[in-house]
Point group: C2
Chain length 330, copies 2
DNA sequence: CTGAAAGCGCTAACAT
DNA sequence: ATGTTAGCGCTTTCAG
């Protein structure tokens, strides 16, 4: 089933078929109808492989993920898929598992497939090595930014998100704040702490308890807040660097008969539906706009493919405050 | 950068380069080394597009998902990716959103791209319409099975999983069982209930409370078990059709001072780490072997591509009992 | 063992 | 407005 078959059936030449189907050449209306009809009858679908060989464009981009589609990666991917779909660009996916050897292998495979560009996604809150210098196609990093500043990366604006969270606490009248996060070594922890302290400092305030670093788990959230309760320090708000931690905190407070949000407000980070909605009360949180991170990264890639221009540096996407009951005021 | 450049540099013809690089023709050792060296120096990567045009194979399969990479789809996809990667097959992904029009559009796009096969994934526990009759490439359905019995589908063996759960309850000495599930209209609910009742019947037992149907949420789990507690019926085990429900149940029992697993055992379904581990106590559950569902579906597709043979019908993959504290016996 | 030649199915100048 | 032609970069007979 080739354009030749359609041509024969419509009684025209192959190039006329090409013009009619692509809409790019001048073809008489009537002829075009005849060709379209023939194509439909034969169930003809243009062979994109052949077209790509000629044009040099595959309308395909390669995506290499390093964290096995973690919870954060999936929305990013969906945002990218959606943006790409609008440009009729497909995406071939592979799982680098954060292993540079595997990554290089897949990059080669992408190059052989002549993808038009490469998108690299990773877990949030981490930087990563550049994929490879001198790649013949544009590359954009999403979530995990490249440490090479000639590369282009798109990430959520973590710092601003954390500042928004802190401001929200203050604006709901809470000034005795506690900060609980994941591992101290994670960039996300440090950035969010710094942002929190910055906002407090702007009001001549400080955290009432030294920042608590642990894991990104509910269990740690429970444990950390118990520690704070035991310390006896007075507090009326808890800023958590993830929804899982916030849920653990909320649960432990509930069990200690501390009223949330009455006595203590709690805010999380992520807007992860499962955590946020199942929590009692539902959690206020910061949404990282992951979908938009993905679509912005894809748009940048598409633009780079079209124009050859790719602005280097890190682009930060705004986070959104999502207020729910855990910080509401009576 | 083409095979011609490599040929020139190595002082041989293009066809010799092709043979040397593909390893398919007879080339003198020494010549081959020279060609390999030239290719390396020029950073040459075979143009797969051109190769595909000739061979008619793209080593690519199309994946169309209907539930936007839900929690269940991701592991399936990873299983498939892994299996495909071993055969150097790439996967192009698109998101049908369960919309037949979109799906047909993407199928056409796959056909134009000359994918070698199509994998259709969906949410678990549902059947779905066949993609399209008379597709020129093999199609395999994963998780959501096709209602057309000429199609090939791979799904977790839900029924057997539920029977395993019920048997586990009995074997840990619990006979007064309650069953809590999601919506009654979902196949998953009905299959799991039937399986549970079947196992009980085999021991001349029945559920001590009529089965409870609601949503797949923690909230529903809490609410349902409260209802059971209020009814005053004596029970020593709760079979939940999802981990989220099980977590809600466990939480509510804890708050009602019912000891789990001492007084009541609780088992879930899914083995969703976040739910299962954060629960107090950690949940026993049924693992649906999603990774294997994905890899089995991919293997079937690969075999079909190679041989043209695709055994129709529904293949069920075994589920695994994962015992944890919520059903342990002292 | 190596090379010349004929396409794979399409697109885009360039004629007509 | 339509057709002719010359490739895109590769693989694979088929000669030498």
């Amino acid at each position: 089933m080739t354009a030749g078959d359609v041509a024969a059936r419509a009684g025209v030449s192959i190039s006329t078929v090409s013009k009619a189907l692509s809409g790019k050449g001048a073809v008489r209306y009537e002829t075009k109808q005849r060709i379209l009809a023939a194509a439909r009858e034969l169930n003809f679908q243009t062979n994109q492989v052949a077209a790509s060989l000629f044009t040099g464009k595959t309308n395909t981009i390669g995506v290499i993920t390093s964290d096995r589609f973690g919870r954060l990666t999936v929305p990013v991917l969906l945002g990218a898929i959606e943006a790409l779909a609008e440009h009729e660009i497909a995406l071939v996916l592979c799982d680098g598992r954060g292993d540079p050897i595997r990554e290089q292998y897949f990059v080669d495979s992408f190059l052989r497939r002549r993808v038009d560009g490469i998108l690299v996604t990773g877990a949030g809150g981490f930087s990563r090595d550049s994929l490879r210098p001198d790649l013949p196609v544009p590359v954009v990093y999403a979530m995990a930014w490249s440490r090479d500043d000639r590369d282009t990366s798109v990430v959520p604006d973590d710092g601003e998100g954390a500042r928004t969270a802190a401001r929200h606490m203050l604006s709901t009248g809470r000034e005795q704040l506690v900060f609980i996060s994941g591992p101290q070594r994670d960039d996300a922890s440090r950035v969010r702490l710094a942002a929190t302290e910055e906002v407090l400092a702007g009001r001549d305030l400080r955290l009432v308890h030294e920042p608590l670093f642990g894991d990104w788990t509910e269990r740690w959230g429970r444990q950390a807040i118990k520690q704070v309760l035991l310390s006896g320090v007075a507090f009326d708000g808890v800023i958590c660097a993830s929804d899982q931690i916030a849920r653990g905190v909320t649960e432990a407070l509930r069990e200690a008969d501390v009223d949330v949000p009455g006595a203590v407000g709690v805010i999380g980070f992520d807007n992860w539906d499962v955590m946020v909605e199942a929590s009692r009360p539902p959690l206020s949180t910061i949404d990282m706009s992951l979908h938009e991170v993905g679509s912005a990264a894809a748009e940048a890639l598409i633009a780079a493919i079209d124009t050859g221009e790719l602005e280097p540096g890190i682009r930060r996407i705004d986070c959104q405050l999502v207020p729910r009951e855990s910080t509401s005021v009576a």
